[in-house]
Subunit: 311 residues, 2 copies
């Protein structure tokens, strides 16, 4: 008998949903809108209805389904309690209980960044490794720690919040979290842009980046083409990235470190950029971690959500 599992990755605008086999083959993938009105109280019912509709469409019986996992944009503890998901309107909302009451199948839930890490460990860049660190370099820096094949959730669902480890003492700008000098203030796409603008302002050196507006991607593209100032910005970015990863790796000793998110599209040059400071700051016993790029892109969360149900 075939055995199926569903994974859902709920964002503030849409929820991505996948139907997978228990070995992780994606059979179907679709999206539904996320209805955030009334404190998001329809969201889990909508996901549940959509899964039920898919089961009907494909003549899948309850007994053939292992269950459904869900990743949400907020901290979720081991009991499924989501403390807050601002983009969904949830506060102190037990995702597991609510989702199960709707779907009537086994369910599990986790934080979206952590669930994406689980997806990358299952079918992506960390496939075959039991101890993995995912570093997602997007608007912020997200993270997920996979320890012996499972998400390190932490007590209050904030395990792996590595974007907010303290990295720099004299930072005057505040991070979104309220602290100053967080890792993500330097290693996110936003951080890279901040570094770029600071360096452009503090020098008169010629650069293609002075030719009007630019984006984070342009900095790395210019560096690849040898633009001297862009190279310096990229090196500075790499310094912070390597340092933050070194500190995290010293705490949890991953076998492989996977870089994902928008900035990771800069590709393997990131490894060269981060390696000097990674090697300088990491504890020797943790220094032989491998580095690779994420492979699943925006689908990682759906894979990981499904994997929550699979031992």
């Amino acid at each position: 008998m075939a055995r199926y599992v569903f994974g859902a990755d709920v964002g503030g605008t849409t929820a991505k949903i996948g139907l997978l086999t228990e070995t992780g083959e994606m059979l179907d993938f679709w999206e539904i809108p996320t209805r955030t009105e009334d404190h998001g109280k329809m969201i889990l019912a909508d996901v549940s209805d959509s899964i039920r509709a898919k089961m009907k469409e494909r003549n899948i019986e309850d007994t053939e389904v292992i269950g459904a996992g869900i990743g949400v944009p907020g901290a979720v503890n081991a009991d499924g309690l989501c403390y807050q998901a601002v983009n969904l309107g949830w506060e102190n909302y037990n995702v597991v209980n609510e989702f199960h009451s709707k779907l009537k199948l086994p369910v599990k839930a986790g934080n979206d960044a952590n669930v994406a890490a689980l997806g990358e460990a299952w079918k992506g860049g960390g496939k075959g490794y039991k101890n993995m660190l995912l570093v997602t370099l997007g608007t912020g820096v997200g993270g997920g720690i996979i320890n012996e094949g499972k998400i390190l959730t932490g007590s209050f669902g904030s395990g792996g919040e590595i974007g907010h480890i303290h990295l720099v003492d004299d930072e005057e700008d505040a991070c979104g979290c309220g602290n100053n000098g967080c890792f993500e203030q330097y290693a996110s796409a936003t951080g890279a842009m901040r570094l770029a603008k600071r360096m452009l302002a503090s020098s008169n050196e010629d650069s293609v980046l002075r030719n009007g507006e630019f984006e984070c991607k342009d900095v790395f593209d210019a560096a690849k083409k040898g633009d001297a100032l862009a190279v310096k910005i990229a090196e500075q970015y790499g310094y912070y990235l390597g340092k933050g990863i070194a500190i995290t790796a010293t705490v949890v000793n991953p076998e492989i470190i996977v870089l994902g998110g928008g900035v990771s599209k800069a590709g393997e040059m990131l490894f060269d950029l981060l390696m000097p400071s990674f090697k300088k700051y990491v504890f020797s016993g943790c220094s032989n971690a491998k580095f690779t790029l994420a492979k699943l892109g925006n689908d990682a969360g759906v894979y990981g959500a499904a994997k929550l149900l699979i031992p």
Copy 2:
């Protein structure tokens, strides 16, 4: 039928061994010398013989014993491979295989600091908590992370090596690990002494610490009695302690943080000293961790080694 478990904590001079019930009652406790000659090849045979002698003495049958756990002063991976234990003479030595071939009972092994953390989580300061961080403030800073009741071992047995997270950029002295600016260079007893000597040298302020030789304990004692310079040293120590713990807690989100080791004898004043920087640097989602003192002292490793065998 009674069910017994043995725990052994092997140091460079002696091995502490305990006979416990499966619920963690210590029935017997003794020590044997650690014979480090010939690359320490007799150590596990000695521990094994000692356990067998105790079983004979107490008429304990093999079927009544769950097994024996062992903590060793070196990194041990999930398969029981000890990469190096300098104080024992071991290198690339599979502790689990060797110990089992001698004892002929189920065995498990771990790094001594991690195993001590498991002991504190089972029967000490972290009792009742599934997610705990032990910070051992001794000659160095050791650590152990308990995640969902189990040791976070990491890929190469270096999980929880928090003494070597990078904390300070401009440190000129090298840490024992070869890096500069490691957490333990400030938060260990040695680190506290370094801070004290630096502050004494950089000021002319009167202090009881100027009356001849002093130890780490004297700094905290003097601070308790209101010696102004000692208070400043203690506050500086607390700053670094709180900062290092904040970074670690942001990565793994523990519910309780247990302080052990020699410096922790300074007691609850440490919490007041570290709290300002802990609160300043920790991610908000991890800020409500509790703090407490370790309770098992030097016996933590024996309890934890026994607990390795108990699910």
